[in-house]
Symmetry: C2
Subunit: 211 residues, 2 copies
DNA sequence: GTCTATAGGTTGATAGAC
DNA sequence: GTCTATCAACCTATAGAC
């Protein structure tokens, strides 16, 4: 007694999100979505015109609040945030989202550069990338720009993999890993990534003094 | 004066690998593949029966040599390998493969658990997972089993993201990151992941003595 | 806003000649 | 082994009644 009360447009968004996450964007047909949402096929085109703009709408609905929360956490961390605070501000708003189907969908989106770069990054992630890029530069000024960029990619990759595999990691590890406690997952991710960021850049070299 | 000399079956495998990497498994039709390979459509079904078993063949062709090399590097690292040696033995055979189209395809495969777990992990990765799992346990015995598993996932995720984004990271970062020097990418990945593995498990706790 | 009906194209797979 | 021709199923998108 819940899904029947929300309007058609939202039902489509929720069904699409769930199926995009579990089957992928290309493998999910509009008919799959309308069947899951118990809605007429033509309603999709009425509300969203095309499948591509439905994909955009499904993603935008989630990523905008996430990015607002990221920037809020970044601001709350003050003038000189630690690397742990920066990683957590970036990761927690995604990993701790209380919408499991959304996690798998975001994982798929991040693994698809041809979708992600033009349709998500350029329109929804510019400000977050700039602000966090600058913050990481202040927090780890001893790193070269290239190394810092690569480490941001590694961070994004660790997070994306958790999103893609979260729903299945429990079964795969016979229960050793449990992704349902999302605060716990965030804490593990933050520990790992922050330590990676603190690694000296050159194998033999000694780290330069930090400010 | 190369592709025309190899046989039809190999031409199909190479075209499929390239397109699976650039467009994804679902978005690539058999007709896309036969056009790229300059081969007749019916040849695909003659040599591979179905699209699904073509996918399996494309993946198996690459992953088996990779896994042999992983196990060889693991053996070459001796009785007490460092964490750096373990990470490199796992990562280098993939990242340093001299077959760019294969990298993007593997990145996509790793981001698709429903394809990867039953059709790749269970049939091609069991031995590698067991051997590396045991080696990491000996190299980082102070970690709980759960934390060690999570960190292996983070490692896999960092690597997968490099595979998916490698072909585009140069353009995205205005040339700051260059994925074409694959030894360099491996070195950065090893530094980052090994440092993450060495992080103490509990934020406040002191690390226990290592053997 | 929601429906039926359907257009117009693409898909994976096969049958059968050569 | 390779080809042409074709099938049945599926797809996205739209037109038009209600």
């Amino acid at each position: 007694m819940n899904a029947v009360l929300v309007d058609t447009k939202t039902r489509i968004l929720e069904a699409a999100e769930k199926l995009f996450g579990s089957k992928g964007f290309d493998a999910t047909s509009l008919r799959d979505i309308t069947a899951e949402a118990e809605v007429n096929l033509a309603a999709v085109n009425y509300h969203f015109q095309t499948k591509d703009s439905l994909i955009d709408a499904v993603i935008a609905r989630r990523i905008d609040p996430i990015n607002r929360r990221r920037l809020a956490l970044l601001a709350a961390a003050g003038e000189k945030p630690t690397i742990e605070q920066l990683v957590e501000a970036f990761v927690a708003p995604v990993v701790e989202q209380d919408a499991p189907p959304m996690l798998a969908m975001m994982g798929r989106a991040m693994a698809n550069p041809d979708l992600f770069l033009p349709r998500i990054f350029k329109s929804h992630l510019r400000e977050v990338a700039d602000r966090f890029g600058a913050a990481f530069e202040r927090a780890a000024p001893e790193l070269s720009a290239a190394e810092r960029m690569w480490r941001l990619m590694f961070m994004a990759g660790s997070m994306a993999h958790v999103l893609s595999w979260g729903h299945i990691v429990g079964a795969m590890t016979d229960g050793v890993c449990d992704a349902s406690d999302r605060k716990d997952v965030t804490a593990r991710l933050v520990r790992f990534v922050a330590a990676g960021f603190r690694a000296p850049e050159s194998d033999g070299a000694v780290m330069r003094a930090k400010s």
